[in-house]
């Protein structure tokens, strides 16, 4: 028993200093770093972009674990703790994108019915995410589902930049969408897009159409 106790004592006496020495060594370990060599893959263009040539992506193998000569990159940045959970802001963006994806996937759902869902998801976005968010929807929604955005477009309290983005996009869509939007917005003098709608209609409407309206 005494022998085992002595052994334990010796082992502890050996390990403790070892840990301490190791820790000190680790703290002070700062090998002379060779020029940093990023293990990030290389992409190359074979030809100049101005020649409209097809960009060729040369993929090297996935990055490997750095070898022992892996160097330390000088950086004054503090280490960022990993953030596994999505923030509320990120959740709102994900929810918005999912909503748009759902509307596209379930194309048989009338746009009018999805409109309030889209608006609810949009209004949950942080202001700074709304512009990117609306472009995500505008880029992906087909003409058939575009009326799903009317809830946002006709709400004049939304960010004018967002309203302009939707309005602008409508102008590049089918005549039916374009004219519906233009004529609806012309009815609301307080809407940020009223002036542009009126101006465009003033240019493209025939005299007969103008007379009929009066």
């Amino acid at each position: 028993m005494r022998i085992e106790a002595g052994y334990r004592l010796m082992l502890i006496c050996g390990l403790l200093p070892a840990v301490l020495i190791g820790a000190v060594l680790l703290r002070s370990f700062n090998p002379v770093a060779p020029a940093h060599q990023s293990p990030v893959r290389k992409v190359s263009r074979d030809v100049k972009t101005s020649e409209h040539a097809k960009p060729v992506i040369k993929r090297e193998p996935a990055p490997k674990w750095p070898d022992e000569s892996g160097s330390k990159k000088e950086s004054g940045a503090a280490v960022v703790p990993a953030t596994e959970a999505k923030t509320l802001r990120e959740q709102a963006v994900a929810s918005w994108e999912n909503q748009i994806d759902d509307v596209i996937a379930y194309a048989d759902v009338p746009a009018k019915e999805s409109s309030w869902l889209i608006k609810a998801a949009f209004d949950k976005l942080y202001k700074d995410d709304q512009f990117d968010g609306i472009h995500y929807g505008l880029n992906l929604l087909p003409d058939e589902q575009f009326p799903g955005l009317y809830g946002i477009l006709y709400d004049k309290n939304e960010d004018p930049e967002v309203l302009d983005a939707i309005f602008s996009d409508a102008l590049n869509r089918s005549e039916e969408i374009k004219m519906t939007v233009l004529k609806s917005l012309r009815k609301d003098r307080e809407h940020p897009m009223f002036f542009e709608s009126s101006r465009i209609l003033d240019v493209i409407e025939t005299e007969e159409e103008k007379m009929t309206r009066k």
Partner: protein
């Protein structure tokens, strides 16, 4: 025994010392090894797909755990790789551990996507088409392409693995146009403009489809750019007519965010409206893409790149087609012209510039304007009745017979050309244009014989031209008459002729372009008027099908 026990104790003490010393060495080696892992760095970029295998030491390890990864990256136990798209920049300590294998730590440096690689991009497809794309700071990409009357959309979660600021950010994706059309492969590479006038200018270059249609997009930099470069304001332009068609016109509204709304009428009567973005290219030129494909054009389009140019020595901006050349105006509708199924392909030149919605017309047109260059309308097909004796009859007094023939009748040659237009009101700021009072041509008779001599067209405004200028848009509209005088009944038995007089009212429209590249050209404004044309074609069953189309003619206002 005691000695032996004593010896054994010494032996154990010795052994313990050795073990302890060995442990110290082992610990040292272990920590040195750990230190080497601690010093290892891996680079990644937010928004760029990332994939990395585990260190060799973990190749066959069980219960691998990876902790501390940046948001967007995950360890996939099946592939034994770390994959994903980092969504946050920073430096992350990633610890990899497994049963029976010493834990290893690496430092992952996740750089932010360069500003020029994300944001809003706008551009065009060579040969006719518009392109737009949005890239989030996290690398999520969505966009759309319009060409040939079809709209394609595309999206992907990140730039391709291997992208970097030095070599560019690339991705390939299938652009989809719904179920009706097969998807088209799209490959784009976003790079920083080679000689950027603005550091945040990104250029996306690539190709679409199997025919490798070149696609080019530029990042929208107007939020970060000197406002002086932005040609905020209103513009008018005409698409110059040529033989066989008149001049269309466009109006542009440019906002401080670089957004452009365009509206106008093409010279076949097709109203167009569209939106776009002001593009600042890598050589400092400012232009916008005009692309619209009216449904009636069956995949045809109006396409051109309009450059906003500050004149040498300053002054109001004028518009011209980027790199010279012409617009593409293509209609694939088989009923577009008299020749069935031929459609049309026209290449009008653009002329115009800045327009003041509160314009004082007197500043530009103090001496008034003149209508000119109005093409003569086409001949009308009129039915003429002829009367004669039936000489085939064997009767002593042959009976009279009549028949009709369709004859082309040219217009009477009375045109609005040369008609003077005055700025109104007569004094002060000029807000409108007016033509002389319209007069109706009256019949003229010989005072002695009372014989009908024809119509009196010797009037100030014989065509009865009316004009209305909308000052805020620069668009003018109005009507004028064309006259067709012809013999409608020709009685050969008596020599008596009955005269027909047909009045055709035509509507014209156009735009004033007070600012343009060549103000010495005398073209204050241009437009068009239409007349209905008739034609026919034979269908597959051999039946003749009649249809109407618009014939287009120029209408010019001279300075």
């Amino acid at each position: 025994m005691k000695t032996r026990i004593h010896s054994m104790r010494e032996l154990f003490i010795n052994l313990s010392k050795r073990i302890a010393a060995f442990a110290i060495v082992l610990q040292f080696v272990f920590f040195c090894a750990s230190a080497q892992g601690q010093g290892a760095y891996i680079d990644s970029i937010t928004g760029v797909a990332f994939e990395m295998s585990l260190p060799a030491a973990f190749a066959d390890a069980a219960k691998v755990a990876v902790k501390g990864l940046p948001a967007g990256l995950k360890y996939n136990a099946l592939t034994r790789k770390i994959t994903g798209v980092p969504t946050k920049s920073g430096i992350f300590n990633v610890v990899i551990s497994a049963t029976g294998v010493p834990a290893q730590t690496l430092t992952m440096n996740t750089a932010a996507l360069p500003v020029w690689a994300y944001g809003e991009f706008n551009g065009y497809l060579e040969g006719g088409g518009a392109a737009s794309m949005t890239v989030s700071a996290q690398g999520k990409i969505s966009g759309k392409l319009a060409s040939g009357g079809n709209n394609y959309t595309f999206s992907t979660t990140a730039y391709a693995s291997g992208s970097s600021p030095e070599s560019g950010f690339a991705f390939t994706v299938n652009a989809s146009a719904g179920k009706a059309l097969p998807p088209l492969p799209l490959a784009l590479l976003v790079s920083q403009a080679a000689s950027p006038s603005i550091q945040t200018l990104g250029l996306a270059d690539g190709q679409l489809g199997s025919d490798a249609t070149p696609v080019k997009l530029y990042r929208n930099v107007w939020k970060e750019t000197d406002a002086a470069l932005n040609p905020i304001g209103y513009y008018t332009a005409t698409l110059t007519g040529a033989q066989g068609y008149g001049s269309g016109y466009l109006t542009f509204t440019v906002t401080d965010k670089g957004r452009i709304k365009t509206a106008g009428n093409l010279a076949d009567g097709t109203a167009v409206s569209l939106s776009g973005t002001l593009i600042l290219d890598d050589t400092g030129r400012v232009f916008t893409v005009i692309y619209t494909s009216p449904a009636a054009y069956n995949g045809g389009c109006l396409f051109g790149l309009v450059e906003f140019v500050t004149p040498d020595g300053g002054g109001k901006m004028f518009l011209r087609i980027l790199d010279g050349g012409a617009f593409l105006w293509k209609n694939l509708n088989p009923l577009a012209t008299a020749e069935y199924a031929s459609g049309f392909l026209r290449e009008p030149v653009l002329s115009g510039g800045w327009y003041n919605t509160m314009i004082n017309l007197r500043d530009y047109y103090e001496n008034g304007l003149t209508v000119g260059g109005v093409e003569a309308p086409p001949a009308l097909q009129m039915t003429v009745r002829y009367i004669d004796y039936n000489y085939a009859s064997e009767a002593e007094n042959p009976p009279r017979i009549s028949w009709t023939e369709v004859t082309d009748v040219a217009d009477a040659g009375v045109s609005p050309n040369g008609l003077g237009l005055s700025v109104t009101p007569a004094t002060g700021s000029g807000t409108g244009l007016t033509a002389p009072m319209a007069q109706t041509p009256a019949k003229m008779f010989d005072p002695d014989t009372k014989e009908f001599l024809g119509y009196n067209y010797d009037l100030d405004n014989p065509t009865g031209l009316t004009l209305k200028l909308t000052r805020t848009t620069g668009i003018f509209k109005g009507t004028f008459n064309s006259y067709y005088d012809y013999v409608s009944v020709d009685d050969w038995t008596t020599g008596k002729q009955t005269t027909g007089h047909v009045v055709k009212k035509s509507s014209y429209q156009g735009a004033l372009t007070p600012e343009r590249e060549d103000k010495g050209d005398g073209m204050a404004g241009r437009g068009f008027y239409l007349t209905p044309g008739k034609s026919e074609y034979q269908n597959l069953q051999g039946k003749l099908i009649k249809y109407t189309y618009n014939q287009s003619y120029d209408f010019i206002i001279l300075q």
